[in-house]
């Protein structure tokens, strides 16, 4: 081996030539081949991979939609209709992109609940978790911007209401809104910049996803028991065990995705978005896309404008603090009999908010939204910190192998987790 070349184990001479100079094959083999992975994953561990696939689908369909989309107020609506009627498979591109956004949020919500339930945000995975929250915020921004592009009634009024959120900030609020619009109302300059940013942000997301996964490969994955693997008997190589398990999930996922796209493509959307934008008439009942509803309900639960806006942003930003709000040493809720109940209540409060967010702002929905909002924050700010102190957790199993194999624990086994960190990626 010549000086300065990577000591590649690849056999094929061409691939070997590449790998010696840029060890991507060695890296893939290490990070996705032999990568030691806890042997006890359940199907909740599919959702990270599903999210990555969805991101790829969104970028692919998005790039092809852009080839026929026109970002101008007089043409946008018609260009989308043209995509639907005249462009070959345009309907498919658009329905996949439209429902892909919903699927993306379904997947990511489950991915987040998974992290919360199994305590994946706790040390040493705090930064990994926080990068995930950044991805979620970027996704929300991207989806919001994208929804404006077809320039229907919901596009226009959604854009108006959401950009106006910034007017709640004292002093500079109104200036910020004018700056965001590039004018005195949501108009052509707004549509243009929204398209530009909608095209850009998914690539920013891709970058943060890369960091998210890099951080994951430093700490290794958490698992349903929430205890770290202690030796080879606790792990399996990622390939073929988890490539197969992820593939099984993927097939089920695509089946559901196809069901939406081919049989009920507009089920999750709002019919008013097939009416061209009209700046003079607000639809009688404006609602955001379903994935924004819980946060929208929090906004409306507060009778004060600035208070509502702060609480809405706070409801997501508080996730950043989760690793420090939860002081319990035990990760997995399997061993936290009390926290588990309160956590399920929190998930219910999330769905209640989603439900009332789609209802008119009148009683009894307002009071329900207020109760659910109160509980949403109570869980993070009071219940979780207190439980860390007072909850009596159940005894943890000795090891992953002992828990899943019982007495057979000493037989079989995968690679050592230490092997992953002994040779850091950048030196590979």
């Amino acid at each position: 081996m010549a000086i300065g070349l990577h000591d590649s184990e690849v056999k094929n001479p061409v691939l070997r030539w590449v790998d010696q100079r840029l060890p991507v094959i060695t890296m893939l083999q290490k990070e996705y081949g032999t990568f030691p992975t806890p042997r006890n994953f359940n199907y909740f561990w599919n959702f990270g991979a599903l999210a990555v696939i969805t991101l790829v689908i969104m970028i692919l369909t998005g790039v092809f939609l852009s080839m026929n989309y026109t970002a101008h107020t007089t043409l946008a609506f018609e260009s989308v209709e043209r995509i639907m009627r005249d462009v070959n498979y345009g309907w498919l591109m658009r329905y996949v992109h439209m429902n892909g956004a919903s699927m993306f949020f379904i997947v990511v919500f489950i991915h987040i609940y998974r992290g919360m339930y199994y305590g994946s945000y706790k040390a040493p995975r705090e930064l990994l978790w926080m990068l995930g929250v950044v991805i979620f915020l970027l996704m929300m921004a991207t989806a919001f911007l994208g929804y404006v592009l077809p320039w229907g009634q919901m596009s226009f009024w959604g854009a108006t209401v959401i950009t106006n959120l910034f007017s709640a900030f004292p002093l500079i609020g109104p200036e910020i809104v004018t700056w965001l619009w590039g004018g005195f109302s949501v108009d052509n300059p707004t549509l243009n910049r929204f398209f530009s940013l909608h095209y850009l942000l998914p690539f920013v997301i891709t970058g943060v996803v890369f960091l998210h996964v890099a951080a994951l490969h430093v700490t290794g994955s958490n698992n349903p028991l929430g205890i770290e693997p202690k030796g080879p008997q606790d792990t399996l190589p990622f390939h073929p065990y988890y490539t197969i398990k992820d593939s099984v999930g993927m097939v089920a996922y695509f089946a559901l995705f196809a069901l939406l796209v081919f049989f009920m493509p507009n089920y999750l959307g709002h019919p008013d978005n097939y009416i061209p934008a009209n700046p003079l008439v607000t639809p009688a009942h404006i609602v955001p896309e379903w994935y924004f509803l819980p946060f929208y309900a929090i906004l409306r639960a507060v009778p004060d404008k600035l208070g509502g806006v702060l609480l809405m942003f706070g409801s997501i930003l508080i996730w950043f603090a989760l690793p420090w709000l939860d002081t319990s040493k035990v990760r997995s809720m399997r061993f936290r009999p009390i926290a588990r109940i309160f956590f399920f209540l929190w998930v219910i409060s999330f769905f209640v908010l989603m439900y009332v967010g789609g209802k008119p702002a009148e009683q009894p929905y307002v009071i329900i939204a207020q109760v659910a909002t109160a509980y949403y924050f109570l869980w993070f700010l009071v219940i979780l910190p207190l439980l860390g102190k007072y909850e009596r957790t159940l005894p943890l199993p000795e090891s992953i192998a002992a828990a899943v194999l019982g007495p057979r624990a000493s037989t079989g086994g995968g690679p050592l987790p230490g092997a992953a960190t002994a040779k850091p990626m950048e030196k590979a």
Binding site: V186, L280, T282, K305, E362
Partner: protein
Amino acid sequence: MADSMAPQMAQAAPGDVPGTTKRDFLMLTTAAFAAVGVGGIVWPFVSSMAPARDVLALASTEVDISPIAAGQSVTVMWRGKPVFVRNRTEEEVREARSVPMSELKDPATDESRVKRDNWLVVVGVCTHLGCVPLGQKPTDAKGDYNGWFCPCHGSHYDTSARIRRGPAPSNLLVPDYAFTSDTMIRIG
């Protein structure tokens, strides 16, 4: 790392603050220049997103108010926004003027919001999150105060378009306008 050793090696001139060195000074000036430079580069980008000159130059809007009978309203466009022009009935004017200031969330007398008693001109954009309130058409819901009602999050405005109930923080905005004759107004 090298800087941390500098203080011991540098000879402080008389009158200098002890512990500071020429290098600290150079570091700070360099950082200050860099900050100004970055600001200078960022500004054109930020500023390019603000309303462009053609948008700012949008003409004012003229409205012929002669066809608007008492009790009727029209909606006109001004800078991409709806403006409500309402010819109020005497009853509505009386209603607006009999409200004690203490009952108002954003206190303003009706007199201060109009130029001629019966004519009310306001920007038809809810001060909560920007929806267009209902109440322009005779068949619209007018809310509990007989003015306008914003369906988005339930804000009620009175016959002077002042906020009375709901999440909106302030009254519907009165734009700059002038009566150019008895039957014409110019907005903007």
